[in-house]
Amino acid sequence: MKKDQIRLLESNGFQSVLSSIVSIIIGLIFGVLLILVVGLLDSNLGIESAWEGIRLVFAGLFSTGRDAFGTLTWGFNSINMGNMLFRATPLIMTGLSVAFAYKTGLFNIGAPGQYLMGTMASLMIALGIPSDKVHPVIIWILAFLGAMAAGAIWGAIPGLFKALLNTNEVIACIMTNWIAANLVTWLFDISPFKNVTESTKSGYIYKTSFNNVATTKLGLDKVFPGSQVNGGIVIAILIAVLVYILMSKTTFGFELRACGSNKDAAKYAGLKDKRDIVISMAIAGALSAAGAALYYLAGNTELYWSTYQSLPAIGFNGIPVAMLALTNPIGVIFSALFMSMLNIIGLQITSLTAYNEYITDVIIAAIVYLSAFALLIKQIISRRIARKKGGSK
C-alpha cells in the first residue's frame, strides 16, 4: 500500500493536478487577504462586508442574491452557472491556443490578434451572407471555418518570421496583435455591419441574430434558464479533446512536440523543423480565432468595433489559462472554467457588496496571477516528494 501511495505521489498527472490546485488555493488566500485589508481600511466596508466578500470568493457561483433581511442567500443559480459555461467557451479556445503553441516550443502571445481576426471573419461572414438565401446553419459553419482560416493565417505570419528569419515569435506576435486591432477597426468602419437601427447603441456591430445566425443551444438553455449558455461550450470541449489526441497520440503531434522540445534533434532526425513552426503557429491561431467565432456567433453578443486602442482580454487570458493547466489540453477546460467562475464571482461581489468593480478586478487579477504559478509549484512539489523519498527508506 505504501508503494502505491508513493507511485501515486510520483506520477506526473497527480503532481500536475495537485500543483494547479495548490496554486489556486494560494491565489484564493491572497484574494481573501486583499478583501480583508480593503474591507478594514475602507470606511464604507468594514468587517461585515469583508466576511460577505470572502464567502462570495469561495461560493459566489452559488449566490442567489439577498433576502428581505439583507442577508446573502445561497443555492443553485442557473444564470451564474450558464454564464460561467458561456464565458469559459472562448477562454478554453485561447487557452488551447497558447497551450498548443507552448507544447511545440513557441510562446503564442499573439492570441488577442488571432482572436480579433476570428471576430472579424466570423461576423462579416455571418452578417454578410443573407439568411433568406442560405440556411443559417450553413452560414454558421462558414463563419466558424472562415474565422479559423483567418486566425490560421494570422498565426502563421509570426511563424513564418520565426522559421525564415529567426525573429522571436513574441515580438512578431505583439506586432501582429496591433496590426489586427487597427485592421479590424478600419474594415468594420467601412463595412455595412455597424448597428444603426438600434438608436441606443453606438459603436457596435449587429448581433449575428439580426441575420438569424446563432449557435445552437443544444438544450442547455433549458438546463440553465436565463443564462447566455449555448452549444459552443460543447464544441470547445470537443476541440480540447481533439487537440489532446492530436498532440499525444498521433505522429503529427509527435513531430510537433519533437521540434518544440529540441529543434536541433528534430532537424537531425530529418524532421522539417521550419515547416513545423509555421504549422504550429497556424493551428494556434486557428484555435484562438475559433474561440472568437464561438463567442460572437452566439447571437446575443455584440462587438464594440472601434477596438484599435485595446486588445481583447480573452486573448491574453489564454496565457494564465494555459499555465494553470500546465499546458495540458484537457486541463485547459477546467482552468478556463475556473477563470470564468472568477469572472462571475467578481460580478457577484460588485453587485452584492460595497466593493467597487475596480477592487474586485484587482482581487480577481491577483488570483489569476498567482494561479499561473502552477509550473513553479509543480517543481517545488516534485522536488519535495523526491527529497522525502530520498530521505526516508
Binding site: 508513493i6 510520483e10 497520440k249 498521433t250 505522429t251 503529427f252 509527435f254 513531430e255 512536440r257 519533437a258 522540445s261 529540441n262 536541433d264 534533434a265 528534430a266 532537424k267 537531425y268 532526425a269 530529418g270 524532421l271 527529497r387 523519498k389 530520498g390 530521505g391 527508506k393
Partner: protein, 516 residues
C-alpha cells in the same frame, strides 16, 4: 595535529538510495592532502552520486563526511564551495552565450560600488591561465569554443575561486591525446602545490599514469582502495567490471568492397568564423566492409566535415556521393535513407531529453508503417521495439522504455543512441566519437558492434579523438589538420607517436599521396 588531518576529506560509510536502486552502499573514500585520488567504476557504479553527495547535491541516508577530521554537513553546493571544494562536471555548467571571462567570474565577481571590476578579474584569470598553461580565449563566447577549451574554462573557474579540493568528473572524455597529457601535467602541478584531486575516470591508462591511489566502485559498492604502484590495468579492470575484460579489439583484416561514401574536394564553412572555411578541399572514399577513421585534434574541421556530409551544416563546394547518389544538396531525411549517424553532441542532436526513451528510439522512424496505424502512433509496437533495443544493447535506466532520457546516465544515453542508429541498418554508419564518456565494458561492447557491422558489409566512417580507439578499431586512418587531410595511415604500420606528429601538423603527406 591529530592523525586524521592527513585526510582533507573523508567520506565514511556513505549510503544513498534512489527508488529501486542503491546508488551508494556503504562506501568509504578518504582523500589525502596533496594526492591525486582516482575513483574508478563503470557507468552506474555510483561515482557521480558519491561526488554529488560530496558536492551537496544529494543528502546521504547514512554515513558522514569529515573535513580535516571534523564532521561537516554539506547541504548544498554553497557549503561545498565554502569548504574549498570545486568540481568540473562531465557535462559542463557554462552559460553558452556568455564570454569565457564572464563564465569564469560568474557568481564570484569582483565589484566596486555594485559595478563589475572586470579588469582585475581579467588580470587574475590571465595570470592563472599563464601559470598552468590553460589557454583560453577570454573574449570568445562559450558556444563558439571547442569542448577542450570549455573544460579549461571550467578548471579556471575552480582556480579563480581558490578551491583546494578539485573534483574532475570524467575530464579526459572530451580531450585529445595532447590535451590529456597537458591536463595530467596540470593535475600533477596542482597536487604538488598541496591541492587534493579527486579524479573520476574509467580510463585505466590515465589512472595508472596520474593517480597516487585509486578507489574502485562496482554496482554501488566500494571494492577497495589501492596504490596505483602496486597494481596494473588488467587487475583494475577486473576489479571494476567483476570479470576478466578484453582490453584489445579483436577483428579480422578488413575486406573492403564497393565505394559507399565518396567525398570529392569538399569545402565547408567554419561554425565559429562564418566567413572562413573549416574544411578545405577534402577528398576521400569509404568502402563497404571497412572502418575509416578521421583522426585529429578537436577543432580541425572534423565537426564541419561530418555536418556537411550529414546535412546538418552547410557545404560551400565539392561533391558528396552516397551509394552512387549525389547527396551534396539533399535534405537530411533523404541522406538518412542510406546513412545512420551517431552524433558528436548527444544532448544537442542525439536525444530529445524530455522525451521518453522509447520515443527517442523511434525518433527518425515513428512515421514508418510498423510504428503507426492511420497516423496514430502504435504504442505497443514502439514499446516492443524499444524494449528489444534496450535488451540487446543493455541500456540501463530506472523505468525502462518509459524513462525520461534526461534522467539517464551519459553512458546509457549514448548506448541508446548507438542502439537506435545501428538498428536502422543503413549502408553507411557515421560514428562520431561513439564511445565518448563510456566505460570499459561499454566500449568493448560498442567496438564489437561496430566491427560486426563492418563484417556485415557496412561502411563505417569513424571520427575519434582517442588515439587508442583510432589505432585499435580502424582499418584506415585519415588525419585531419586545419581542415585538410594531411595523411593516410595504416593502423598496423603506425603508432601513437607518428599519428601525433600528423595530428599536430608537424608532418604531412603529399596531397596526391594522401587522397585515396
Amino acid at each position: 595535529m591529530d592523525h586524521n588531518s592527513d585526510y582533507v576529506i573523508e567520506m565514511l560509510h556513505i549510503t544513498k538510495e534512489f527508488p529501486g536502486i542503491k546508488a551508494n552502499d556503504d562506501i568509504t573514500l578518504q582523500l589525502r592532502r596533496g594526492e591525486i585520488h582516482a575513483l574508478l567504476g563503470e557507468n552506474g557504479a555510483g561515482k557521480s552520486t558519491l561526488m554529488s553527495v560530496l558536492f551537496g547535491l544529494y543528502q546521504p541516508e547514512k554515513g558522514e563526511i569529515l573535513f580535516n577530521g571534523k564532521k561537516v554537513e554539506i547541504k548544498d553546493p554553497n557549503d561545498a564551495t565554502a569548504l574549498g571544494i570545486g568540481m568540473v562536471h562531465q557535462h559542463f555548467k557554462l552559460v553558452e552565450v556568455f564570454t569565457v571571462l564572464d563564465n569564469i567570474i560568474l557568481g564570484a565577481e569582483t565589484t566596486k560600488l555594485g559595478f563589475l571590476r572586470k579588469k582585475e578579474a581579467r588580470a587574475k584569470v590571465e595570470a592563472l591561465s599563464k601559470k598552468y598553461g590553460l589557454q583560453v580565449d577570454l573574449d570568445a563566447k562559450v558556444e563558439d569554443i571547442t569542448v577542450g577549451m570549455q573544460q579549461r574554462v571550467e578548471i579556471l573557474k575552480m582556480l579563480y575561486r581558490d578551491n583546494d579540493i578539485l573534483i574532475f568528473d570524467e575530464p579526459t572524455a572530451v580531450l585529445t591525446p595532447q590535451e590529456i597529457d597537458e591536463l595530467m601535467a596540470t593535475m600533477r602541478e596542482f597536487a604538488k602545490e598541496g591541492k587534493s584531486i579527486l579524479f573520476i575516470s574509467h580510463k585505466l591508462n590515465e589512472i595508472m599514469a596520474v593517480a597516487d591511489r585509486v578507489t574502485v566502485l562496482r554496482k554501488g559498492k566500494g571494492i577497495g582502495t589501492i596504490d596505483t604502484k602496486s597494481t596494473n590495468t588488467q587487475e583494475l579492470s577486473n576489479m571494476m567490471v567483476g570479470r576478466p575484460v578484453q582490453l584489445q579489439v579483436s577483428k579480422t583484416p578488413a575486406k573492403p568492397g564497393e565505394a559507399v561514401l565518396v567525398v570529392e574536394d569538399l569545402t565547408a564553412p567554419s561554425r565559429v568564423h562564418k566567413n572562413k572555411n573549416a574544411v578545405k578541399g577534402v577528398s576521400f572514399t569509404v568502402r563497404s566492409g571497412e572502418i575509416v577513421c578521421i583522426a585529429g585534434i578537436d577543432g580541425n574541421g572534423q565537426t564541419e566535415l561530418v555536418s556537411a556530409i550529414t546535412g546538418l551544416g552547410k557545404t560551400n563546394s565539392g561533391k558528396v556521393t552516397l551509394c552512387g547518389e549525389d547527396i551534396s544538396r539533399a535534405s537530411i531525411k533523404a541522406r538518412g535513407r542510406n546513412m545512420s549517424h551517431i552524433p558528436e553532441d548527444r544532448h544537442k542532436h542525439g536525444l530529445i531529453l524530455d522525451f521518453s526513451l522509447e520515443d527517442n528510439m523511434v525518433l527518425q522512424r515513428f512515421k514508418e508503417p510498423q510504428f503507426q496505424s492511420h497516423s496514430f502512433i502504435n504504442r505497443p509496437a514502439v514499446r516492443k521495439y524499444s524494449d528489444r533495443l534496450i535488451e540487446k544493447f543493455d541500456v540501463r535506466s530506472g523505468q525502462g522504455s518509459e524513462t525520461i532520457a534526461r534522467s539517464m546516465s551519459g553512458g546509457n544515453q549514448q548506448k541508446a543512441i548507438i542502439a537506435r542508429e545501428l538498428d536502422r541498418d543503413k549502408k553507411l554508419v557515421m560514428a562520431v566519437q561513439p564511445t565518448r564518456g563510456l566505460d570499459v565494458g561499454a566500449i568493448e561492447f560498442i567496438h564489437a558492434q561496430l566491427v560486426e557491422e563492418r563484417d556485415s558489409g557496412k561502411a563505417i566512417m569513424l571520427v575519434s579523438l582517442e588515439l587508442d580507439e583510432v589505432l585499435s578499431l580502424s582499418d584506415r586512418i585519415l588525419v585531419m589538420f586545419e581542415g585538410e587531410i594531411v595523411g593516410e595511415l595504416d593502423p598496423a604500420k603506425t603508432n601513437a607517436q607518428e599519428l601525433g606528429l600528423y595530428m599536430s601538423g608537424a608532418k604531412r603527406m603529399d596531397r596526391k599521396e594522401a587522397a585515396e
